[in-house]
Amino acid sequence: MLDIEDKSLKQGVLGLVIALVEIIRDALRLQALRRVEGGSLTEAEVERLGRALMDLETTIEEIKQEQGIAETVRSVREGMDNVVDDILKLTASPLEWVRRGEEGQERCTTLSK
């Protein structure tokens, strides 16, 4: 029998871990770019740096595919920004609740081409 709770807990934890790895990867990339632009690295060093980042990227993608957590990771990263925002802003302004939930309701007029 498939234990749904165990599976989604595992997915959630993995998703969180990989989201954090991605954030670290982004920081590493920025660092690497700065060093490369700084001009203090030799061509061989730049090549090694590039390869390492490339391999990291590939590994992350493989894990996401194999574990089926690409969507989980995406939503964890999106959610991280919004969590505190939500709690503070929504109880202070009822208007935000209504604005959030108003897709397709009569009050909303979308002007677009």
């Binding site: 990339r29 690497a32 770019l33 490369v36 632009e37 061509e43 730049v46 090549e47 090694r48 740096l49 590039g50 390869r51 390492a52 980042l53 490339m54 999106e78 920004d81 919004n82 925002d85 929504l90 109880t91 202070a92 302004s93 009822p94 208007l95 609740w97 209504v98 604005r99 108003e102 009050r107 909303c108 007029t109 979308t110 002007l111 677009s112 081409k113």
Partner: protein
């Protein structure tokens, strides 16, 4: 630190009008009347007014502590009820100053809760009246402008000279170096898009500001994939500028890569506090 009382939306008991030391205040209305809106408040409480001169507070009686719950649906239901009650007051009395969810005035020693509310109105009368005059007849509208990221990237790529050079270098380099060139390219494009986005939103802000009595800049949130929110505004608009605002937004919506979301009218939630 006060005691926390868990209240859920399923409890539909009617609260007795006497014996409750708190007054949950929904808004201040521009009318010096004593009236009841019926049992439209949180937990089906009766909503009524406490007047002071030519204004009144729209309240219901409650225990002297905030409405708190760990259940997100319960809180959402309360917040929606709060919103609907403010709108009912708006429809009834024309001009209201909405208060935030969970604003409760508590009876102090030596006076009942109703008196406490009247005293508060009397103390704040000057600034409340001033605010009422500023929002009188106006409504709040939300304006959000989105930028189609594909069209944004296209616009930015064309004008970036370094990008061309990097692409050329990337195609001839060894894998690791090519990857670094690619990262540089993405970095450049991201920065250029940020700059273009900022410039765009400044221009849009000026155009929209011209038609509103007051404007508040809201934090730009994540949009759906493929779209980037460049501007989010709360606008206080009087009826005589509404048509022009609509026309300006229409114009903006027809511009390359832009989409507009225009919501409202709302009671002036964002314009109650002096900035």
């Amino acid at each position: 630190m006060h005691d926390v009382v868990q209240i859920g939306p399923s409890s539909s008991q009617r609260r007795p009008l006497t014996g409750l030391a708190g007054r949950y205040v929904y808004c201040v209305a521009d009318a010096g009347v004593q009236a009841s809106l019926g049992n439209v408040g949180l937990e089906h409480s009766e909503v009524y007014t406490i007047p002071w001169q030519d204004i009144c507070a729209v309240v219901h009686n409650c225990p002297p502590q905030p409405y708190l719950s760990g259940d997100r649906d319960a809180v959402q239901a309360w917040v929606m009820t709060h919103q609907r009650t403010v709108e009912a007051a708006w429809a009834t009395w024309g001009t209201v100053l909405p208060l935030a969810f969970d604003t409760i005035i508590v009876a102090a020693a030596g006076g009942g809760a109703d008196q406490q509310v009247a005293d508060w109105l009397s103390r704040e009368y000057g600034s409340l009246k001033a605010r009422i005059q500023r929002v009188k007849g106006a409504a709040e509208y939300g304006v959000q402008v989105f930028w189609d990221t594909a069209s944004a990237a296209r616009e930015v790529t064309l004008s970036s000279l370094d990008a061309g050079k990097l692409r050329a270098q990337a195609s001839s380099a060894s894998p690791g170096m090519a990857y670094m060139y690619r990262l540089q390219l993405e970095h450049l494009l991201r920065n250029a898009m940020e700059a273009k986005g900022a410039e765009l939103s400044r221009g849009l802000y000026d155009r929209i500001r011209a038609h509103a009595a007051e404007v508040r800049v809201e934090k730009a949130k994540q949009a759906e994939p493929g779209l980037r929110m460049v501007l989010s505004l709360s606008c206080l608009v009087h009826p005589d500028r509404y048509a022009q605002l609509g026309q300006e937004l229409d114009k903006i919506g027809r511009e390359q890569g832009l989409r507009v979301r225009f919501t409202g009218p709302w009671p002036p939630y964002s314009f109650v506090r002096d900035c």
